[in-house]
């Protein structure tokens, strides 16, 4: 059993999420080898039993943490589950220390929270809850769970592109989401495949409003002055360094580049470095592969117009013949790539292993629940926080679970099949 204990503990130390983990005696020996005679036991390889990694349950408010979904410059994104509704969620974990190192990091997060809290649309990601841990200098943004990034799906294919019908499906949803955002006076400014997520039923959700801009309610038009979006998706007016530009048309351009990328696996403009790239974008010279039909290349041309005034608007795009037309699904439709080391085709909940820990019967586990952190109820990033419910503490009533567990076998009338 000693081997078994060692494995999870050593693994857990890698995770800085769990500072409460006790130091393993084995490791202290390693640190101070003079003090204790170092004995090497000979173990037959057959005796070594590889135990699966034990996952330790961790709660943030009512959310039980699962595996990591991704990692950005701001911090990690993990899967989690709402322990009341059992709904799958994603949590963006932001560390203030990291945010300070990024230009406008804290401001961007603040803006994103303020924007997302007000938005509710089928094609825009929803922010459900914000938790702040002042002691750890961390912030947790609880979002809707999405099963895959568009970028991840593109990368799972050989040519890094989708069949036309699939691009058509996603693009139509993107336009609907953009129409809503623009209607709300919001310029996203960072539309690209890695900011477009898909739910289990393939509904597209626009995410990452970190560099988005909310126009002033009384602004005469959608003139913007700043942009921090991804270089390859920037329009000529930004590449050329214009002081002001038309905000909504920036999103149109980026959506055009996204559509170009999804259908061809290429980018309309490239460059060895950001300078060369911007020079090429500024020139506005690109070619559309002849593999694309004339209707689609007409749409792309309309969206990738150098002059923002000549560029199509969202309403024109919505009514474009290529967008309107019905396409049936072709056999080369790209499925969601399998997830995790095991290659799970269903992309099942990773939280289950943590649930095992939460409800495992061994009494020695109790100390793990000391992880309960008490969160301050202030949300420093939201000035006008009109009632996002914040759960102040997350004590797990473990003793309750236990008492109940004792009779659950009988009352639940269950048997293991």
């Amino acid at each position: 059993m000693a081997d078994g204990d060692m494995v999870p503990q050593a693994m857990t130390l890698v995770e800085d999420e769990y500072p409460h983990v006790r130091m393993d005696p084995f490791i202290s020996i390693m640190e101070d080898p003079d003090e204790v005679p170092f004995i090497i036991h000979r173990v037959d390889s057959n005796e070594i039993v590889y135990q699966p990694r034990r996952r330790k349950a961790k709660l943030i408010g009512k959310y039980l943490m699962g595996d990591m979904l991704g990692e950005g410059s701001y911090g990690k994104v993990k899967e989690c589950i709402d322990t009341e509704s059992l709904c799958r969620r994603a949590v963006k974990i932001l560390k203030r220390r990291k945010l300070r190192k990024i230009p406008n990091g804290e401001q961007n997060v603040q803006r994103e929270i303020q924007l997302l809290k007000r938005l509710q649309h089928r094609h825009v990601i929803r922010l459900l809850d914000v938790h702040v841990n002042d002691e750890k200098q961390k912030m947790y943004l609880i979002m809707e769970y999405c099963v895959c990034e568009l970028q991840e799906m593109l990368e799972s294919t050989k040519d890094k592109k989708f069949p036309i019908c699939q691009s058509h499906n996603y693009f139509g949803q993107l336009v609907e989401g953009l129409e809503y955002l623009h209607g709300q006076g919001i310029v996203h400014k960072d539309i690209k495949p890695s900011n477009l997520l898909l739910t289990t039923d393939e509904t597209l959700r626009i995410t990452d409003l970190g560099v988005a801009e909310k126009l002033d309610m009384f602004a005469e038009d959608d003139t913007c002055r700043t942009s921090q979006g991804s270089p390859a998706f920037q329009p000529p007016e930004i590449a050329n360094g214009l002081e002001t530009f038309v905000g909504f048309k920036v999103d149109v351009w980026a959506s055009g580049v996204t559509l170009y990328n999804m259908t061809t696996g290429l980018y309309p403009f490239e460059g060895d470095n950001i300078y060369r790239l911007f020079v090429n974008i500024g020139k506005g010279e690109y070619t559309i592969p002849d593999t694309l039909d004339s209707l689609l290349s007409n749409l792309l041309t309309g969206m990738l117009q150098t002059e923002p005034e000549k560029r199509l608007g969202i309403q024109q795009i919505k009514r474009h013949d290529w967008v309107i037309k019905k396409l049936s699904r072709t056999p080369d439709y790209v499925p969601f790539p399998p997830s995790g080391e095991e290659g799970d085709v269903y992309r099942s909940m990773s939280v289950v292993q943590y649930l095992e820990d939460l409800h495992s019967g061994s009494p020695s586990d109790d100390e793990e629940y000391d992880d309960s952190q008490i969160f301050s109820d202030n949300i420093p990033y939201s000035a006008n926080n009109n009632a996002q419910p914040v759960v102040k503490e997350n004590t797990i009533p473990e003793h309750k679970h236990k008492k109940k567990r004792a009779k659950s076998g009988l009352l639940a009338s269950c048997k293991q099949s």
């Binding site: 039923d201 095992e356 409800h359 269950c414």
Partner: protein, 420 residues
């Protein structure tokens, strides 16, 4: 009060003392008379049912309805179910009044329920006769289901479960309703005892279509759906594992069949499985393939064996040990047929490939002996309970006086009411 809590308290009461019925005595004394002799005769009730479906006589006008008393709550307690007299016909009906201002449910969800229900017409699906908005309230006019829900039956008298025969009639009618809904591409998603209602004549209707989900989207019938009913926390116990898992596999109409299996246990045992554990543990149990069973002398030995091993880990639960003994005694004293056991087992198949459809299940040996109509048999099987029909004795309420009515509910014989 949340329904989960109700479940928990129901089962705990069962443990404390099987004779103590959490219900007013008054009701039981009135129940001595057979249901046919009550204020509303069976014939009349039948007529109501047949005419209600087709008649356009239910007008969206409050003047046509004389409200009596609250007989239940719904919609997270923001809706009251009110026993009502339809003045033009002098018939007794039920009106669900939902306060739209205090209701935390999205209006579109309520709207969907109405739109869906009005497209349906089946003897075993509770119809909506008319709906309208009066002030800040949504009025939904429905036939009166005078026995209340099957959960009411359990709470009122059958705290240790209904008889196998009564359960079989109720389950058959539930499956008939599901067979119809599934043929229309509708997944009910909250089949449970509190959504199965019994009329004075014994007819069984499925209600609770607020959580229902249509597989027909944009003119196409989908093979699987993924929508997670995140607002319906109260039905989590009954949900199939594939709904709870929320992965790419998705789910379909067969997920309702799993809920039928859980409901079968609920009807026969008197409490729903997984009642006494946190929902997170329930999720784990379902994913790990735990299959609830009917508690009787054939299964109790296994269940108690499990119990004893559990007690090995945990000490200091003497009071619970005595409760377990009571349950053990109860279970030992009864035996369900192997048909019933098998029915529950196949409903609770984890794999969608092996789980049967509603139509297949209607041919199951469990239902072989049922020749008569449920409405002919059920009232006699749920005696001594009687339907709520003698309205003349009830206090007449002022229209729109829901808040006061809500207080009256405690004095009413049908405490638990309906859960729509």
């Amino acid at each position: 009060m949340s329904l989960l809590q109700q479940c928990a308290c129901a089962s705990s009461k069962t443990k404390e003392s099987p004779t103590a019925v959490p219900y007013s005595r008054k009701h039981q004394t009135t129940s001595a008379s057979p249901p046919q002799n009550d204020g509303l005769s069976q014939g009349e009730d039948n007529r109501i049912h047949s005419t209600m479906m087709s008649s356009g006589s239910f007008v969206p006008d409050t003047k046509h309805y004389e409200l009596y008393t609250v007989i239940g709550r719904g919609c997270n307690d923001t809706a009251g179910i009110i026993l009502t007299k339809h003045i033009p016909s002098s018939k007794h009906i039920a009106i669900k009044k939902t306060n739209l201002e205090s209701c935390d449910i999205d209006f579109s969800v309520l709207q969907n329920e109405v739109i869906l229900c009005r497209q349906l017409q089946h003897e075993k699906v509770l119809p909506i006769l008319t709906t309208f908005i009066h002030d800040h309230e949504l009025w939904t006019v429905m036939p009166l289901m005078a026995y209340g829900s099957c959960k009411d039956l359990i709470h009122a008298y059958f705290t240790n479960g209904l008889s196998e025969q009564a359960s079989s009639y109720i389950l058959r009618d539930t499956l008939l309703a599901l067979e119809y809904l599934h043929s229309k591409g509708i997944i009910h998603r909250s089949v449970r005892a509190s959504h199965i209602l019994v009329a004075a004549n014994g007819n069984v209707c499925l209600s609770g279509l607020r959580d229902a989900h249509s597989m027909i989207q944009r003119g196409r019938r989908l093979r699987i759906v993924h929508d997670y009913p995140q607002h319906f926390v109260r039905s989590l116990q009954w949900l199939a594992p594939e709904i709870l898992e929320q992965n790419l596999m998705g789910y379909d109409c067969l997920s309702d069949i799993y809920s039928v299996g859980i409901t079968a246990c609920e009807l026969a045992n008197g409490y729903a499985p997984f009642t006494d554990m946190p929902v997170t543990q329930m999720l784990l149990e379902k994913i790990n393939g735990t299959k609830p069973v009917l508690a009787d002398c054939t299964t109790i030995a296994d269940l108690v064996g499990e119990e004893n091993t559990n007690q090995g880990h945990d000490s200091g639960i003497d009071s619970e040990a005595t409760n377990s003994r009571e349950i053990t005694d109860l279970a030992n004293a009864r035996k369900f047929s192997h048909h019933f056991h098998n029915f529950v087992e196949i409903c609770l198949e984890k794999s969608l490939e092996t789980r049967p459809s509603a139509s297949t299940l209607l041919g199951h040996s469990f239902f072989k002996h049922l020749k008569k109509k449920t409405s002919e048999m059920l009232p006699s099987l749920i005696q001594p309970l009687s339907p709520l029909t003698d309205i003349s004795k009830l206090p007449k309420a002022q229209a729109g006086d829901v808040d006061d009515l809500a207080e009256d509910i405690n004095n009413m014989s049908m405490e638990e009411g309906w859960d729509f």
